[in-house]
């Protein structure tokens, strides 16, 4: 294989050059050698040994993450802060690992951890303190689950132009790991152990308090993401995945869990304090939420006719049970089609067949979850709080206006 390869590559390149040259003349497309068509002389060689060993996307696919919230990443201290996923380009429900949003509290360096040296310690109010190597964790019964993670700061406002800006701080991946309940049963939680403190190994040792009820319910101690080890920006080699809760609680680079008897008000907890009990009640669990990703802000419809409107719906309360779409700014609603099986606390793809007649339209989507929670409009949220704008974790309906020229705009007023 190795011996033949260079010759074949050279041949293909010559073929490409030939095709490129000839295409200036009137060459019949029936020539048959389609792999060379459209290939340019300077094109990326996807059959290099390196890319055969570990592939990459086409150089014509340029979708990428962007810094979120006006703060650059890396910043002046080389810290990584918030980076948003390009939801406008998303299909299906999985966010590719390289495009999964990144969030950190105050900004963080991404640690370079040797998994052979990494340990997870569980201690505190337990019958036996235990420390695990990665190898030991992988011996334990595992689960694989689809879950979204969303930053509590994933808020849309009228200055945003694209869905990446309005909603890019959420992503969904397939996570594999050990249920935290499995580990907690192994160490034996003592009476009064009502909270855990989970902590990472990065330079600030980011830590959060979590209620034991959640820890015993569905929290994952994950070592794999989308079929490979979790990537460094996502917490390699080990992280918590706290399904449906604010993203900050899914502690990355996890090295320690302490079982304690109270909310510890530790590093990350302090930054998420709320003054208002209603605001606090909306804080842990992400509300039912959805957004249309096509067509979305900044995109352009080329003309009238048929379009499959497509988007993502999710909820921290469980599985998505219904998604509705409006094309008239929320006056009337029609059921969208849910694509595939909705998973609990996971992005769910929906679609809606629509024929655009060329007149101005306003597209919205509305999610209902298995608990019966319905995604509110911004007006409903403002009415609840008695003031304009959205307080609490923002799960409000996102409106997109289709202008008569086919351009798509954020319609938040």
């Amino acid at each position: 294989m190795g011996l033949k390869q260079p010759d074949r590559r050279a041949f293909l390149k010559r073929g490409a050059a030939l095709a490129g040259g000839l295409s200036l003349g009137a060459v019949e497309p029936a020539i048959g050698q389609t792999p060379a068509s459209g290939q340019s002389v300077e094109g990326q060689d996807y059959s290099s040994e390196e890319l055969i060993a570990y592939g990459q996307r086409s150089r014509f696919v340029t979708s990428k993450r962007i810094p979120h919230g006006g703060r650059p990443s890396p910043d002046e201290f080389d810290l990584v802060f918030h980076v948003a996923a390009p939801l406008q380009d998303s299909v299906g429900v999985i966010t590719p690992s390289a495009l999964h949003y990144v969030g950190t509290t105050r900004g963080s360096f991404v640690p370079d951890i040797d998994p052979k040296e990494h340990r997870l310690m569980i201690h505190g109010m337990v019958d036996r303190d235990l420390i695990f190597t990665m190898e030991e964790l992988k011996r334990l019964p595992s689960v694989t689950r689809l879950h979204f993670i969303e930053c509590a700061g994933n808020r849309s406002n009228r200055r945003h132009t694209t869905v990446q800006e309005t909603h890019g701080m959420t992503s969904c991946a397939e996570w594999t790991g050990v249920l935290l309940s499995t580990l907690l049963e192994e160490v034996g939680v003592q009476d009064g152990g009502t909270w855990i403190v989970a902590e990472g190994v990065e330079e600030v040792k980011g830590a959060s308090s979590l209620p034991m009820a959640k820890a015993m319910d569905d929290i994952l101690v994950a070592y794999a993401m989308n079929g490979e080890p979790i990537r460094p920006q996502q917490g390699f080699p080990l992280r918590l995945v706290v399904p449906g809760f604010e993203g900050i609680l899914s502690v990355k680079w996890l090295r320690r869990i302490k079982v304690v008897d109270r909310f510890y008000m530790t590093y990350n907890d302090y930054g998420h304090l709320r003054r208002d009990p209603d605001d606090a009640a909306l804080s842990y669990q992400i509300g039912p939420k959805s957004v249309i990703t096509f067509p979305s802000g900044g995109q352009q419809l080329p003309g009238t006719g048929f379009y499959e409107v497509s988007g993502l719906a999710w909820s921290g309360g469980g599985a998505v049970s219904r998604v509705e779409v409006s094309t008239d700014g929320g006056e009337s609603w029609m059921d969208a089609e849910i694509r595939g099986t909705p998973h609990r606390m996971a992005h769910t793809r929906f679609s809606f067949n629509w024929t655009w007649d060329g007149t101005e339209a306003e597209l919205q989507s509305r999610c209902t979850d298995e608990l019966g929670q319905v995604q509110p409009s911004r007006a409903q949220v403002a009415e609840f709080w008695g003031r304009p704008g959205v307080r609490g974790q923002d799960n409000s309906i996102q409106p997109w206006r289709i202008a008569s020229d086919g351009s798509v705009h954020n319609a938040i007023s």
């Binding site: 105050r106 160490v187 590093y267 606090a280």
Partner: protein
């Protein structure tokens, strides 16, 4: 779960014999992992409870804090904690009538417990040199920040006993988190 039950059932006669009923539910199922040493736990156990139980020995004063601050903090936070590239450390307004929530996200004011200030400095500061402050230095810096924000007097000494006793202005002015249970909606009455 299956393995757990089987193992428990096998142990049952023995446990009944020695009267070890409560141990039944607590026996390990997989036997994977090892017991960390007391030293390993002490080295990693850096989360400080509001009760202060994890606080290490040591002590610090405002005067010592000012010395440490000049050497380790002023470069980013400015000479007096009000300027510089890093976040502000001192409240803008003064006076007894100003509510702590109106003073912005300033750690020594917003935090309901002084232990949180100690914990934050200890694990997160100085940027890029985390973990290099001694316990005495963290006590001293905590004292300085609390003094600058009118929380303690200039002559107070902070240690593992006095620090948890400091009365923070935001002590009772924050909303407790919901008592979360599986299958629970977020907030009744919210526009659903």
């Amino acid at each position: 779960m299956g393995a757990y039950t089987m193992r428990s059932l096998r142990l049952l006669p023995f446990l009944m014999l020695v009267g070890g009923g409560p141990a039944l539910a607590q026996s390990p199922t997989y036997g994977v992992g090892r017991t960390p040493s007391a030293e390993e736990i002490r080295a990693w156990d850096i989360s400080i409870s509001p009760t202060g139980e994890e606080l290490p020995p040591g002590r610090g004063t405002v005067t010592e804090g000012a010395r440490v601050y000049r050497l380790r903090c002023a470069r980013c936070h400015g000479a007096d904690g009000t300027e510089g590239r890093a976040p502000r450390l001192v409240k803008r307004e003064r006076g007894p009538d100003v509510h702590p929530w109106s003073l912005g996200r300033i750690l020594p004011i917003r935090s309901p417990y002084a232990t949180t200030v100690w914990d934050y400095i200890n694990r997160g500061m100085p940027l890029n040199r985390e973990g290099t402050l001694t316990a005495d230095e963290v006590y001293a810096l905590t004292a300085l920040l609390l003094y600058w924000n009118d929380v303690i007097a200039e002559d107070e000494v902070l240690d593992a006993q006095s620090l948890p006793m400091v009365e923070m202005p935001n002590r009772d002015a924050w909303a407790p988190l919901p008592d979360w249970k599986p299958g629970m909606p977020r907030l009744r009455g919210y526009p659903y």
